[in-house]
Every structure is written in structure tokens, then in C-alpha cells.
């Protein structure tokens, strides 16, 4: 059964210059525990697609089901609940809370989703992303790669089944980027579904499913042509 299912999803924006169609009748289906890479040039609609799946934005037309919930039927307050329990985000700009330490940022994710032993879980998550020795550091005391790993740990601490990552390596150097991608890949082994939006075609080589967008249309949705490779084999 698909954990993410989109049917004829269209998103139009009204601007002073006219109507912009960011996504045009997009349909796709993603199975659980897959690493999905959404590819496309700037302005192709890939972030809009991610926002629709994560219920940060609502489609103009079409139906979206995620984790067994019909997202397009949910009320505003139900959408908040959906984001607490079903999806979680990893941002290109990390978006950590500056007044919280690494541990507390991760604890936030656990607490929001209602975990009881949030502190223990947060420590575990930070150790999983190899930041067990940086728990008391504030974001401004961490490098970009470390901040992104904290952001991933925060998302993982929610325990939500769908991880949505928007250009998670965009701010990072190659070496750190590979580490992050490996972390995300490892999460699929735990049963999480990871959707990564990127314009870096090389990353699509480690995906289970590659969705390619152009001008708001899904132009392909298939496994990588050369088969799925390990993150360590990626080069850019």
C-alpha cells in the first residue's frame, strides 16, 4: 500500500502578472520505506510538491493521501495534527531554534509528537547522527553539517513515518553532504519513507524512486536507470 498518493494535484498561484501553474495535474504513488528523490530545475515545482505532501500548502485541485490520511480533506487544526504525527521536515537552512541546545532542539521534535521520554530519545538520536559529544552546543556553535545532522535528528525524534527533506545538502560541502545522505538512507532501513528534493542529479542515483519535474509536470517517475547505489559512490 502506498504511503504517499497524489492524484491530479494542481497548484496555481495568482500573481499581478497572471496565473502561475506551479504544479499541473501531478499524480504519483510512493511505497513505505523508500528513499524518493524529486529532481528538477529551479521553478519546476519540486518544492511545491513537497509542501503539498507535508501539508504546508494546499492544492488548488486534486487529492492527496499520506500515511492513510486524506490530507486534502483535513481541517486547519487537523493539518497541524497531521504534521505532528505523520510527516516531518528537514530544511535546507536547517531552521534550528537558536536559543535551544542541540539536545533541546531534538527534544523539541520528540515532545511535539508526544513522546514521553523525550530527553532519552533525543540523546539517542544525536548519538545516531554521531553528535553525542555536541549535545550541549547551541546552533551557532556548530558547523553547517553538524547543524543539519541536528535537524535530521530532530525530525527523526518525532518518530513520524514520512521525512521530507528540501535540499538537505544545499548548504553543505560534498563530504558532509554524503554523510547526511547516508543518514537519510539509513532511515529507510528503519521503515521511514524519505522524500528528498534536490536539483543535484547525482543524488538521484541512491534513490529507490526518482521523480522528475519540469514546468510543474511530472515527466518521469521510476527507479534510477543504473540501479540504486550506495551514498559513498556519489560524486559531484
Amino acid at each position: 500500500m502506498a504511503i504517499i498518493d497524489l492524484r491530479d494535484v494542481t497548484k496555481r498561484f495568482e500573481t499581478p502578472a497572471g496565473t502561475v501553474v506551479a504544479l499541473d495535474r501531478a499524480s504519483l504513488s510512493v511505497a513505505a520505506a523508500q528513499l524518493v528523490v524529486v529532481l528538477g530545475p529551479s521553478g519546476s515545482g519540486k518544492t511545491t510538491l513537497l509542501n503539498m505532501i507535508g501539508a504546508l500548502d494546499t492544492p488548488t485541485e486534486g487529492l492527496i493521501d499520506v500515511g492513510g490520511k486524506r490530507v486534502t480533506d483535513l481541517s486547519r487544526s487537523q493539518l497541524f495534527g497531521f504534521r505532528r504525527q505523520t510527516v516531518t521536515f528537514i530544511f535546507q537552512a536547517f531552521n534550528l531554534f537558536p536559543e535551544l541546545t542541540a539536545l533541546e532542539n531534538v527534544r523539541f521534535g520528540a515532545e511535539v509528537s508526544g513522546h514521553r521520554s523525550a530527553s532519552q530519545l533525543a540523546v539517542q538520536m544525536l548519538e545516531d547522527v554521531e553528535l553525542g559529544d555536541r549535545v550541549q552546543h547551541f546552533p551557532h556553535e556548530l558547523s553547517g553539517g553538524e547543524q543539519q545532522r541536528v535537524a535530521i535528528a530532530r525530525s527523526l525524534a518525532t518518530g513520524n513515518p514520512v521525512l521530507l527533506a528540501d535540499e538537505p545538502t544545499g548548504e553543505l560541502d560534498f563530504r558532509t553532504g554524503i554523510q547526511i545522505l547516508q543518514l537519510l538512507r539509513d532511515r529507510t532501513n528503519d521503515g521511514k519513507t524519505v522524500v528528498v528534493v534536490t536539483h543535484n542529479r547525482e543524488i538521484s542515483r541512491m534513490a529507490d524512486l526518482v521523480i522528475e519535474l519540469s514546468d510543474g509536470h511530472i515527466i518521469s517517475s521510476a527507479p534510477p536507470s543504473g540501479g540504486t547505489v550506495d551514498a559513498t559512490e556519489l560524486r559531484w
Binding site: D57, F89, F91, P98, L100, V112, F138, H140
Partner: protein, 807 residues
């Protein structure tokens, strides 16, 4: 330049609400300064206009209290003595008679009944009718009277009705204001009378002659000096000639411009203005600091743009243009709103003055100079406020300026403390404390802004409380620790064995009594002169002497003065002081100086209070003469019943319960209390604006944090709640600062401003619990409600674009 202006215009549009809010802070600060200042000028000009418009007398001639002269003889003598210098002269009979007003005569008052010759049109001290009708020649032989507006207003009496004067009911046909009686506050011995206890009544002279049992007599002449003549010269001529034209009667010639009652009206305006200036400037300073703090944060938000400009080689001077234009926009908007606020506050305060101190004529011209000063302050404050942050911003290293805000140096000074601070609860519960701690400078500035706004409020309330506590302390001393006393004033000096006195003390309703003599005098030492109201009583009788003094069994031959008088004169217990006092001589008296020892110092806040033993009367050339009585009713007899009975006795000028007199000062304080309500509202608005601006800027700075929270499923109400708790925590600390600074300001106002403005009063510092509560509640409501206004902004936030913004 047009490029910068265009960019700045976009800044303005983007931050319109903040610019308006900061401008509103400046406007309220400068507005209260201009508004309160305007009323002072209006009051002075209105007083001048009232005296001129109603033809106030220039000179008043009267025999010594208790003496009467046939009306025609008095008028002729004054006309003859004044010669060509006088243009108009009118004779009157002014009698102190007990009055009862209201339904069933329930309101007792000390009546001052002014008999006017209505056969001719009244040309001096004319009336301004506020309700009902005036009196004219047709009323000359009638029994209709006019009631002073102050008394009628104090008791909400109708425009016409019945009033009882010395037991005789008469009809009053209107209420009026008259220039001689605009000042309602008088002292008599150690008592104070005001609008509520002193009823001035204007009546045909024939009626007053009947009521006072002085047929054909007068005791007062008012005169206007011919145009071009010197008032002082004419007064001197009268003083010289009156003993010739009216031998055997000691006459007093008083110039209105030197009259203490008239001068007090002007002094009151000046002293009140001094106090209000202090508060207006404090509010302006608080508003200035708030504007500085908020401008600093707005400029801080432009730091990245500044960094980019620096990296592109733009000169610091050009970089400074944009934030300075923003500050100029705040300044111009602040001045424009300040003029409106000043005008509005002025009108509002004027309404309070019109109600509390009614004047016959009000002149309220535009106070251009004052508004110009306020406008200059309004322009300078935001420009000065932006200068420092702009100077700082263009001096940082471009690399630091280019960093995203959360990575800039100096933005996380509190992180070390935060790491060590064990905080309970979830991360979201901790968020408010963490936000405050992580940026201690920003938090401290917000706390200071709130504190400096609230400080004048507590100081203002504390000033009222202190004045109230002073009255309580003074009343306790004046009324001999017992409110259950009737204070009686006689119409003139009487031997203590006179039938009028015996009728009082032998009344079956009286359990205890004490007789006394009240007179005025001066204490002199070096260049310092202190006016005192001497109460000559049995100093060993606790009924009339202060308890502490009565206990000491003080011997005669000395004086008891108030602590404030002793401090101002620099004398202490056992020291000597020169007392300038009246000495009876023939049918009049003259003032003489006598050195007397200070037998005791009474802890009275009123400087005018002084006591001497009744056995020292011979010093005044008198013996066994009294003009006051203090009566205590028998058990089972109410003070009101005693008052009703006594006020009907012949020879009684007035009889009032001691508690009535203490309420008088509270009525006088009504004006100050009304004005402090204006301060409370303005300060409440300022505190709200500061909290709102701080929250709004904070919300803009934390847009991504809020978006991230919402992306993780945290609802808007929870995000707003975090903001409310943060704002309230800052508010609580700000309130603490405000209370502390407010107490310091109060201490300064009472210790420095009050002694200079009101030297007659030694104000006891006091702050009522309700004043603390009002300050705390205004602070809490303002800070707690402000963050809720950004809820709409959060609801409408474009989450994807806010989250995706890459620094």
C-alpha cells in the same frame, strides 16, 4: 538620493505599522508635555480674563473683623479718602453666618453672605451666572439670593432652591461665579475650608443686614481705580486719609493684586505645573528611551543589507542614509501625531479643570511656542535614537554584518548562562525564558523601556497617596484624634463669659468643650518668613491641643510650631523665634514683633499650624476673649444633631463637624486625582505600544522559528502563548524595574519638587497597595495583550516561503 528615498519608501511601506507605533510613542510623550503645559497657560490667561471681564475690584477697604459702619458713612468716607483716584465704589456687608443646604438642610456649611446694594447696577465684582438667573434692581428689597457655583457643584445642588441662612430659609434663584471668591480654600486657625464646606451667598444688602442683625450697616467697600492711576498710589492715599475721614475705626486697605487669596490662585497654577512638568518629562524620557530601543532593533534588522552595501564598497555616509531616513519618518510622524495628541490631551485636561476649578471666562488659545518645543523634542528623540545604532552598524566588520542574524557575534551572550540554567518543563515551556536569556541586551532594553514608562505612573499615584496620607496625619492632629467634635467659629471676638459663649458651652447637648482664640501671625528668622495660623487654646487640654503637646503640660509664654516650619526656619525645640502678631489697640490692632521660645514642635505636615496657650492672650492685648469653641456631644447625641442646634445660636458664624473639614482637602485633591487619571491612561497606552512594538519586531525576527514550529505541527495559539509568556516575563521584570524607579522618582518628587512647589506642606511619603496593584495590572495587561495582536500575522504566514528563505 532618489534611489535611497525610493528604497526608504519601500522600508516605510514594509514597516508602516511599526513606524506608526514608534511615532505614537513619541507622540504620546511629546503630547502629554505639550498638553499639560498648555493648560497652565490657559488657566493663567483665563484667570486674567475672568478678573478683567467681571470687573474685579482693585482695592478693598474694610474695618477690623467684627466692626460695622453705617453703609452711607462708610461709602462716603472711602470716596472722600480716595479722592479723584477712585472711579467706582460699592459698599457691602459681608457676614459669616451658618448655612444649611440641600434637601432637609442636611448639608451644613460655613456661610459667607455678601450683601450687595442692588439699587444700582453692580459694576464691581460682577457675577457670571452659571445656572438660573441673576439679581437686579427689582430684587433690592426682596429675599432672593445667589449661590456660589463651587458650593452648588460640590453638593450637586439644583440651579434654584431653598437655603437656610442663620435659621432663615431663603430662595436662591441662580448659581454664579464671582472674581473675589474664585479661590475656595481658606484657613481659619488650624482648620481648612474648601468648596464643599464654605458657601458663598450673594444677597441684597438689606436682607443681609436683617440676617446679621446689623440694620443699615456695612463692613466692606470694593473700589476700582480710575484708568491711568496707580493702584498702589491710590491705596496709599486711602491708608493715609481714612483715619481722617473715618476716625475711631481701624480700617484695612488691601490691593487685590497683593491679596494672598488671589496670589494663591496663580501660585497654585505654577506649583501644579512644576509637578506636571516633572511627570511629563519623565514620560517623555521613557517614551524617548522606548523609541531609541525600538529604532535600534529596526536598524539592527537592516544589518545584513548594511553588510552587503559595505561589501560592495558603499561609503558609511551613504549607508547611513536609509536608516536615518527611517528615523526621520518616525520623527515626522511622531511630531504630526504629537500635535494631535497634545491637542487632544490639552482638551481632555481642560475639561477636568473646567469641572474642578470653574472660572467665569476661559481663554484657550493655541500654545504655539510650547507645541514647537514638543515638536523639536519629537524630532530629536528618534533621530538621536537611530544615530547610535547606525553608527554601530557601519562600524562592524562586513563579514559579521553579512552573517544571518542568529550567527552574528554578540547575539548569544546569554548562551553560557542558558547552558547552566536548569529549566523545568518541555522545550516549548522553556522557550520564553530561553528567548529572554539568550539575548540579554535586547531583553534588558525592553525591560528598561517598560520600566521607564511605568515608573512615572507609580510616582504619580504615590504622589496622590502621599498627599492623602499627609491629610490624614494632619487631620488627626487638627481634630485631636477624634472626628466626633464640632468646631464652632463665632462671628466676632467675644468675652468667654458672654451670653453667646455661655449658650454654647452650657447647652444640654454638650458633654465637653474648649474655648480658643484664632488669629494670624508670622514667624521670622533671618530672611525667612513663615505665615502661621495661631490657635490659642488650653495647651494641656487634649481636646484642642495635639495629644503629644497636651501630655507635656507646657507652661505659657511660648509657642508650639509645626515640624515643617521649624525645619524651614532652622530652629529647634527650646530655641527662640520672632513672632509677628496682632496687638489690640483701641478699636483696631497693629502688628508687633515679640521674641518667644519654642515650647514644642508638633509633628503636623501643615506648616501654618501653630499653638499658644490661651493664658498668653495679654501678649495680643486681649484678655478672656475667644472666637472659637470645640464641642463634644453628650453620649447619645449625634454630631449632626449638635451641629443643627448650635448653628442656630446667635453669634455663631459656622459650626462644622471636624470630619467635614478633613474632607475638604480631599475635595481639593480631586483635581490632582483627575489629572493623574489622564497620566494613567497615557502610560497604559505607552506600555501597550512598547510591548506591541517589541513583540512585533521580535515576531518578525523569529518568523522562521515560528514557521518551523508550525511545520512541526505546533498550532498558532501555542506559538502566541509562548510570545505572551515571554512578553509577560519581560513585563514582570519591567514592572519590577518600574516600581523601583518609580519609588526613587517619588522620593525625589517629594523631597525636591514638592518642597519648592508647595512649601506650606510637608508631604509624608506613602504608596497605597492599590497604587502598586494599578501599576502592576497596567503593566501586565499591556504586555500580555500585545502579543495576541500578532496572532493574525501568524495565521497568515506563508509557511513554505518563510521556511525556505536561505540566509
Amino acid at each position: 538620493m532618489s534611489f535611497w528615498l525610493r528604497w526608504s519608501w519601500r522600508d516605510l511601506r514594509g514597516r508602516l505599522l511599526q513606524v506608526v507605533a514608534i511615532a505614537a510613542i513619541i507622540a504620546l510623550g511629546s503630547g502629554i508635555y505639550a498638553g499639560l503645559g498648555s493648560t497652565s497657560a490657559w488657566r493663567q490667561q483665563s484667570l486674567d480674563a475672568s478678573f478683567a471681564g467681571l470687573a474685579a475690584h482693585d482695592i478693598e477697604v474694610s474695618p477690623v473683623a467684627g466692626f460695622f459702619v453705617p453703609q452711607d458713612q462708610l461709602l462716603g468716607a472711602v470716596r472722600s479718602a480716595g479722592g479723584q483716584g477712585l472711579s467706582t465704589v460699592e459698599a457691602r456687608l459681608v457676614a459669616d453666618l451658618p448655612v444649611r443646604a440641600g434637601r432637609g438642610g442636611q448639608i451644613p456649611a460655613a456661610g459667607v453672605v455678601v450683601g450687595v446694594d442692588l439699587a444700582q447696577p453692580v459694576e464691581i465684582d460682577r457675577w457670571k451666572v452659571t445656572a438660573g438667573r441673576s439679581l437686579g434692581p427689582g430684587d433690592a428689597q426682596g429675599s432672593s439670593v445667589l449661590l456660589d457655583e463651587h458650593f452648588a457643584d460640590a453638593h450637586h445642588l439644583p440651579p434654584t432652591g431653598t437655603i437656610v441662612i442663620a435659621g432663615t430659609p431663603v430662595r436662591y434663584v441662580g448659581t454664579v461665579l464671582e472674581p473675589e471668591y474664585l479661590n475656595t480654600t481658606t484657613t481659619f486657625g488650624t482648620t481648612i475650608q474648601g468648596a464643599a464646606t464654605r458657601a458663598v451667598i450673594f444677597a441684597p444688602i438689606g436682607l443681609v443686614q436683617r440676617l446679621a442683625d446689623q440694620p443699615g450697616q456695612a463692613n466692606d467697600v470694593v473700589a476700582r481705580v480710575r484708568s491711568g492711576e496707580s493702584i498702589d498710589h491710590v491705596a496709599a492715599t486711602l491708608t493715609h486719609n481714612l483715619p481722617i475721614t473715618l476716625p475711631n475705626v481701624a480700617m484695612t486697605v488691601a490691593v487685590r493684586n497683593d491679596d494672598p487669596m488671589t496670589l494663591a490662585l496663580y501660585d497654585e497654577i505654577i506649583s501644579e505645573q512644576k509637578i506636571f512638568d516633572v511627570f511629563a518629562l519623565l514620560i517623555l524620557a521613557g517614551a524617548g528611551f522606548a523609541a531609541f530601543n525600538l529604532t535600534r532593533r529596526v536598524v539592527e534588522a537592516q544589518r545584513r543589507d548594511i553588510g552587503i552595501a559595505m561589501a560592495l564598497g558603499v561609503s558609511p555616509g551613504e549607508i547611513a542614509i536609509r536608516p536615518i531616513i527611517l528615523a526621520a519618518e518616525v520623527a515626522v510622524a511622531g511630531v504630526a501625531l504629537g500635535v494631535l495628541a497634545g491637542w487632544g490631551i490639552g482638551i481632555w485636561v481642560l475639561g477636568i479643570f473646567r469641572s474642578e476649578v470653574p472660572l467665569p471666562i476661559w481663554h484657550t488659545p493655541w500654545q504655539g511656542g510650547l507645541f514647537l518645543r514638543a515638536a523639536v523634542l519629537g524630532l530629536v528623540i528618534p533621530l538621536a535614537g537611530s544615530a547610535y545604532p547606525v553608527w554601530r552598524a557601519v562600524r562592524v566588520a562586513p563579514t559579521d554584518a553579512l552573517l544571518p542574524p542568529h550567527l552574528r557575534s554578540g547575539r548569544h551572550r546569554g548562551s553560557g548562562l542558558l547552558r547552566k540554567l536548569p529549566l523545568p518543563g518541555s522545550t516549548m515551556a522553556q522557550a520564553p525564558v530561553r528567548r529572554i536569556t539568550i539575548a540579554p541586551t535586547r531583553s534588558a532594553m525592553t525591560v528598561l523601556a517598560i520600566g521607564l514608562i511605568l515608573a512615572p505612573l507609580l510616582a504619580a499615584l504615590g504622589t496622590t497617596d502621599s498627599a492623602s496620607a499627609t491629610i490624614d496625619a494632619g487631620t488627626q492632629i487638627l481634630s485631636g484624634n477624634s472626628a466626633d467634635q464640632l468646631l464652632v467659629s463665632l462671628t466676632n471676638y467675644q468675652p468667654s463669659t458672654a451670653p453667646a459663649v455661655s449658650a454654647l458651652v452650657d447647652s444640654p447637648l454638650v458633654a465637653k468643650y474648649a474655648l480658643g482664640l484664632n488669629t494670624g501671625g508670622y514667624l521670622l528668622r533671618g530672611h525667612t518668613t513663615v505665615a502661621v495660623s495661631i490657635s490659642m487654646v488650653d495647651l494641656s487640654d487634649p481636646l484642642v491641643a495635639p495629644t503629644a503637646v497636651a501630655r507635656q503640660k507646657i507652661a505659657p509664654g511660648g509657642i508650639v510650631i509645626a515640624t515643617k516650619a521649624a525645619a524651614d526656619l532652622g530652629v529647634g525645640l527650646g530655641g527662640d523665634i520672632v513672632l509677628r502678631h496682632p496687638l489690640a489697640q483701641g478699636s483696631g490692632y497693629r502688628f508687633v514683633d515679640t521674641v518667644v521660645p519654642i515650647r514644642a514642635i508638633v509633628d503636623s505636615p501643615y506648616r501654618f499650624v501653630a499653638y499658644m496657650d490661651l493664658r498668653d492672650e495679654p501678649m495680643m492685648g486681649l484678655s478672656g476673649i475667644v472666637n472659637t469653641a470645640t464641642l463634644v456631644p453628650r453620649p447619645g447625641v449625634s454630631i449632626n444633631a449638635l451641629q443643627r442646634r448650635i448653628s442656630l445660636q446667635p453669634g455663631v458664624a459656622w459650626a462644622l463637624p471636624a470630619s467635614t473639614l478633613s474632607n475638604t482637602i480631599r475635595d481639593i485633591l480631586g483635581l490632582v486625582t483627575g489629572l493623574f487619571v489622564v497620566l494613567q491612561i497615557v502610560i497604559g497606552m505607552l506600555a501597550f505600544l512598547v510591548a506591541y512594538n517589541s513583540t512585533k519586531i521580535g515576531s518578525d525576527e523569529r518568523a522562521r522559528e515560528h514557521a518551523t514550529m508550525m511545520a512541526f505541527g505546533v498550532g498558532v495559539p501555542r506559538v502566541v502563548l509562548i510570545g505572551v509568556i515571554e512578553s509577560v516575563l519581560l513585563g514582570v521584570i519591567g514592572i519590577g524595574v518600574g516600581l523601583g524607579v518609580g519609588l526613587l522618582v517619588l522620593h525625589w518628587v517629594l523631597g525636591t519638587v514638592f518642597p519648592a512647589a508647595v512649601p506650606e506642606l510637608s508631604v509624608l511619603p506613602a504608596v497605597a497597595a492599590s497604587s502598586f496593584v494599578i501599576t502592576v495590572v497596567i503593566g501586565l495587561v499591556a504586555t500580555a495583550s500585545a502579543p495576541t495582536l500578532v496572532a493574525r500575522q501568524l495565521e497568515r504566514m506563508n509557511l513554505p516561503s518563510t521556511l525556505r528563505y536561505v540566509e
